[in-house]
């Protein structure tokens, strides 16, 4: 066993990293978990949002946290249009087509970014980028702490949206029984597009919280996609609490795994837990049996 002074900071580090994973996964659990759209473009969307935050800071000097008011609605509109205009029309309601369409979109977005910004890795500089907060024996980067709080807030907002609003009820109805929902007068295509938009809005929020302590390049999203899919299934398809807990768990496992077994084996722990959970609870940690 390692001593507390090393273990505790690693644990906190894992929790804060996990919070960002959770933010990305929250959007995906709505798109993939609820509506079963396999969104390969999720990582590319995160990359687009990160570039938006970067440009706002770089060109107009807008603080990343202030950029939330621009990037979140912007990503929502982008997602709504993408689902309504491209994905819905091109997929013809077939899973394998949705997969290829979103893959095509991901390829287009990533390479457009490559064309426009080259493959350079870019970062932004803010007054608080290097600020730290002491918690017990550990020093935690301030932006990571804010991202942690942000993830909790977004999760709470989504839960309220899904449980208390008409839109949330419509989304749940469409997820359960598409045909029935249509017969009750719900505009299914609109609900799908709204869900996709909200999912990407989460990604927009994630980008604002992420960039002060992270970087952006055209491939940045790919590192998050697989982890996000893992978290969604691990936490339980369509469960927001599951995405949050799953994200934190994955962050901690990765951090501790890296500490005990070295960097490259850190991720193996994630998938060991993933398979273990699926064997014992096929519906995921917070999932309900179908």
């Amino acid at each position: 066993m390692l001593e507390f002074g090393i273990l505790f900071p690693a644990l906190l580090n894992g929790l804060t990293t996990g919070a960002v994973y959770a933010l990305v996964a929250l959007g995906l659990t709505l798109i993939y978990g609820v509506l079963h759209i396999i969104n390969f473009a999720h990582g590319a969307s995160l990359m687009v949002a990160l570039y938006a935050v970067y440009l706002l800071k770089d060109r107009f000097g807008i603080d990343p946290y202030l950029a939330l008011v621009v990037v979140v609605p912007g990503m929502f509109a982008f997602g709504y249009a993408l689902q309504r205009i491209v994905i819905d029309r091109a997929s013809h309601g077939k899973d394998e087509n949705i997969l290829l369409v979103t893959l095509g979109i991901a390829i287009v977005l990533e390479n457009l970014a490559l064309l426009l910004f080259k493959s350079d890795t870019r970062t932004i500089d803010t007054a608080y980028t290097l600020a730290t907060v002491p918690i017990g024996p550990a020093l935690i980067a301030l932006p990571k702490l804010i991202a942690f709080a942000g993830a909790l807030a977004v999760c709470a907002l989504l839960l309220v949206l899904m449980q208390r609003t008409d839109l949330g009820r419509a989304i749940r109805a469409v997820a359960k029984e598409k045909q029935g929902a249509r017969l009750m007068g719900i505009d299914v295509e609109h609900v799908y597009a709204m869900s996709f938009g909200i999912g990407l809005a989460c990604v927009g929020a994630a980008a604002c919280f992420l960039l002060p302590a992270y970087y952006v390049n055209p491939q940045v999203g790919s590192g998050f996609v697989l982890v996000a899919f893992t978290i969604v299934v691990l936490g339980g398809m369509g469960s927001f609490a599951g995405a949050l807990v799953g994200g934190l768990l994955v962050g901690v496992v990765e951090s501790l795994g890296g500490l005990y077994f070295g960097e490259s084996l850190g991720q193996v722990g994630i998938f060991a837990i993933f398979i273990g959970v699926l064997l014992l609870r096929p519906q995921g940690l917070f999932g309900t049996r179908a």
């Binding site: 029309r89 390829i107 064309l115």
Partner: protein, 295 residues
């Protein structure tokens, strides 16, 4: 019978290619297009005929590649190594069943130094390499043709279309799927082994990275899943597209892949059943689409 005739015709045409031209560019193109066909056809057996969507086919590709490489580093003849590689891939396929685990690891590559000779599966001319991969593709096509006409193929498609109904008439879905995975994995392993023979190098990123899995499934879906010629057509079309855009816009990074992505989306928009689906009569196509929407 028609299937066998078309495969024979295809084989004859491609076999003759090196006799007609000795242009390295053309032969290289055909070889790599055939390689893409092999991967797509391997995926198609499980994904198209079995309805099991696999994102993890790189696992079998990587297993084939590594077994081929390591067996030769221990002094085994490449032809013997190939049978070992196929067996290992099939065995891995049997073990993982439908579940596949992405591997990550430090990037340590393996080099396989070989002298050119047929006994070494290293050919002095490009034609030899082309014929090798052609042989593998023809095996894959023959397996697909067999799936279309055999009892096992009927079981597999029955399981794909309605598992409960298939079980009700006495088909064991688990064993049928498992067999399909093993066949698919062995062919994917052949692709991995071929890769090692051509490039004489393999590392974890190439072997188990998502690139190969995606390449295989994209070509199969674009071409048309569950058909004999669809995956081959899809692989050829995508390979041609990628090559063309790279040659046209090579100086601008990214633009060739932007076009590739746009074409991918457009194909899905206007040919939802894949390129091969166009050959279906319009009425049948419409019915099939309606079935899909209802399902």
């Amino acid at each position: 019978m028609k299937d066998l005739a078309s495969i024979a015709l295809f084989a004859l045409l491609v076999v003759c290619a090196p006799l007609v031209t000795d242009s390295g560019v053309v032969l290289n193109f055909i070889t790599m297009a055939l390689y893409a066909c092999l991967l797509a056809q391997a995926w198609n057996i499980l994904g198209g005929f079995g309805g099991q969507f696999s994102f993890g086919h790189a696992l079998f590709f990587g297993t084939g590649a590594y077994v081929q490489a390591i067996a030769q580093l221990h002094g085994l003849n490449p032809w013997l190594a190939l049978t070992l590689a196929l067996a290992a891939s099939a065995a891995v396929g049997l073990c993982v069943g439908a579940l596949s685990v992405p591997f990550t690891g430090a990037g340590v590559g393996l080099m396989v130094p070989l002298r050119a000779s047929t006994a070494n599966m290293q050919f002095a001319s490009r034609a030899g390499t082309l014929w090798l991969v052609l042989g593998m593709v023809i095996v894959a096509l023959l397996v697909t043709a067999w799936l279309r006409h055999s009892r096992f193929g009927a079981w597999l498609q029955a399981v794909r279309d309605n598992e409960d109904a298939a079980r009700a008439v006495g088909v064991d879905p688990f064993r049928v799927k498992l067999a399909a995975i093993a066949i698919s994995a062995a062919l994917m392993g052949a692709g991995g082994a071929f890769y090692v023979q051509v490039f004489q190098y393999i590392d974890p990123g190439i072997a188990y990275g998502p690139g190969t899995s995606v390449e295989a499934l994209v070509a199969a879906i674009v071409g048309g899943m569950g058909t004999l010629w669809g995956p081959a057509l899809g692989a050829l079309a995508l390979h041609l597209l990628a090559d063309l855009t790279r040659n046209l816009f090579g100086e601008l990074p990214g633009i060739n892949m932007v076009i590739y992505g746009v074409v991918l989306v457009l194909i899905m928009m206007f040919m939802p059943r894949g390129v091969a689906g166009l050959r279906m009569p319009a009425r049948g196509r419409r019915n099939a689409e309606q079935d899909q929407r209802r399902g």
